[in-house]
């Protein structure tokens, strides 16, 4: 069976759905093809033991009120024409960066972070204020920005090594594909979205966002196909012709927006010349323990929303030589947003992990793999204790995922979450008509992934200079 579309979008994650809405809104014939039976991609959901879980969501970054104009979140809902209220966002209480010697709290008002720095590192206050000025005037979304590492730039404002590490910790673990540092544009995007705008959680979790996007896409007349894997991208004379799905069906198309990752997209291109320019596969993957407790974290001594835990003087954001790094973690308490919809306590502990070791273990023996997961769980209990959780509680349910789980469900090589260190910021590839979108191209988090889908759809499919071949 053969059919023809203006655009085929590969992947029904946040970026694919957002791109799809934009195209369907303006009467492009668009289809989203999704390998899995449900949408969401890296930010999906599942059920275990009658309980509902979010896969990736700790918090949404880029929190703004409906009145704050020109901010990423409000820009994107305007582009998708979705009312602000539909997301039912509940802001965080506060978060904590916890190092061996010092702790810094921050919330959705930068004032608290400034005060905390002033208290703990008084000699750095001036430098930090200057860093804020630098960040506020930086044009981080300019697609022609050159890649440049952020730490040397930030060091020109911040002298204290410890404070520098503390500032970088949330930004690295919430979005860097690079080890121990990140690109300056990405640093500014992350800084603004975490420290200047902040965290919130949509009521109902990630399902709320996915359902809003799916409904809007269908309203606009878009088509979506689940259990439909793109097995090949066909091109002729360096121009896209069609995609092959489930190994036999051909869908003809003028353009393709791929949200499955840069190296993953290159893998399915039929006859790629210049294959020596293949993007590298990233190094950073994660494991996570999700615990349900009879009592809520607040009662047990933790009222922070998110704790960035690090038990070394320096923060090692790198692939560990062990299965996972138990000396650093992100600990998220979904109960501790300003609205708590849960009957039980929930604690999510995320560690940086080594894909190769997990993959080897899994291939060796299922039991050994299970035992390792149990070790992750045990360490997560110790981390919770160090974060101040008292022991007078029962764990009534637990679930642990590893880098191999991420690979299995997202198709990302090495179970990476933030993509390759090679990015396609403007979305172009060596093949005409094939473009890349997604959170892993340097626009981070849920808000970043949706913005990426919107910008790539606007730039490569909707913009008039491209409409010649399409309409």
């Amino acid at each position: 069976m053969s059919s023809s579309y203006d655009c085929v979008i590969i992947g029904a994650g946040m970026s694919g759905l957002a791109a799809g809405i934009r195209l369907a809104m303006f009467d492009k014939k668009v289809i989203i093809v999704e390998k899995h039976s449900i949408s969401g991609g890296l930010n999906s959901y599942y059920s275990r033991g009658k309980r509902k879980f979010d896969v990736g969501l700790h918090a949404m970054t880029n929190f703004v009120t409906a009145q704050e104009r020109g901010k990423p979140f409000n820009k994107l809902i305007k582009q998708l024409r979705i009312p602000y209220e539909d997301f039912k966002l509940h802001p965080q209480k506060y978060s904590l960066i916890k190092f061996p010697e010092k702790e810094l709290r921050f919330n959705n008002e930068i004032q608290l972070f400034i005060e905390e720095i002033n208290t703990n590192f008084p000699e750095e206050t001036d430098g930090f204020l200057k860093l804020l000025d630098f960040i506020k005037t930086f044009d981080e979304v300019n697609l022609s920005n050159q890649t440049q590492m952020a730490k040397p730039v930030v060091k020109s404002f911040i002298n204290n090594e410890s404070l520098l590490e503390m500032i970088f910790t949330p930004l690295l673990i919430y979005g860097s594909a690079w080890e121990n540092d990140m690109d300056i544009s990405q640093f500014v995007i992350m800084f603004k979205s975490i420290y200047l705008e902040g965290f919130s959680r949509p009521e109902g979790g990630v399902r709320t966002i996915i359902n809003i996007l799916l409904k809007r896409f269908e309203e606009c007349g878009g088509e979506i196909k689940f259990n439909c894997e793109v097995t090949r991208v066909n091109s002729k004379n360096n121009r896209i012709e069609s995609v092959e799905v489930n190994s036999n069906e051909i869908i003809n198309c003028q353009t393709i927006l791929s949200s499955i990752g840069l190296p993953e997209t290159f893998e399915i291109i039929d006859n790629l010349e210049n294959s020596n320019h293949k993007p590298r596969v990233g190094n950073l993957s994660f494991c996570e323990s999700i615990l349900m407790t009879d009592l809520k974290p607040k009662v047990l001594g933790i009222d922070a929303t998110i704790i960035f835990y690090n038990n070394r003087p320096k923060y090692l954001y790198q692939k560990p030589q062990t299965f996972f790094d138990s000396e650093s973690a992100v600990v998220c308490m979904p109960n501790n947003f300003d609205h708590d919809e849960f009957n039980e306590g929930i604690l999510r502990i995320t560690n940086i992990a080594n894909f190769d070791l997990w993959n080897k273990e899994l291939n060796l023996s299922k039991q050994a793999y299970k035992d390792k997961k149990e070790e992750v769980y045990k360490q997560s209990r110790l981390i919770l204790e160090k974060c101040g959780l008292n022991s007078s509680h029962e764990v009534i349910f637990k679930d642990i995922f590893t880098p191999t789980t991420i690979k299995r469900y997202t198709g990302h090589q090495n179970g990476v979450v933030y993509g390759s260190i090679d990015k396609s910021r403007n979305g172009t590839t060596p093949i005409n008509g094939l473009y890349i979108c997604g959170t892993d191209q340097g626009f981070l988090g849920i808000v970043g992934s949706m913005l990426s889908g919107i910008s790539m759809a606007n730039l490569h499919v909707l913009s008039p200079q491209n409409s010649g071949g399409l309409s």
């Binding site: 020109g70 305007k78 909707l462 008039p464």
Partner: protein, 83 residues
Amino acid sequence: MLTNEEVRSKVLDIIADIALDDDVTTIKDDIALRDQLELDSMDFLDIVMELKKRHKIEVPQEDYSHLASMQSCVDYLAPKFNA
């Protein structure tokens, strides 16, 4: 034949749908839309797209500057509406 007032009202309908949170009833015709409303380049693309979708009017990129204010929109678009 559409009057200038009718063209203005059709453009206003589009802007109202794009700038959901702005009050479009107070737009001054001779002042740039950008200076009165929260519109960025992505939103101007939407005005162009909506003109095409609703009224089959094409605005080539080199003519975008004609959409700067309500007055320039009407001057530029009226002949296109009536073509």
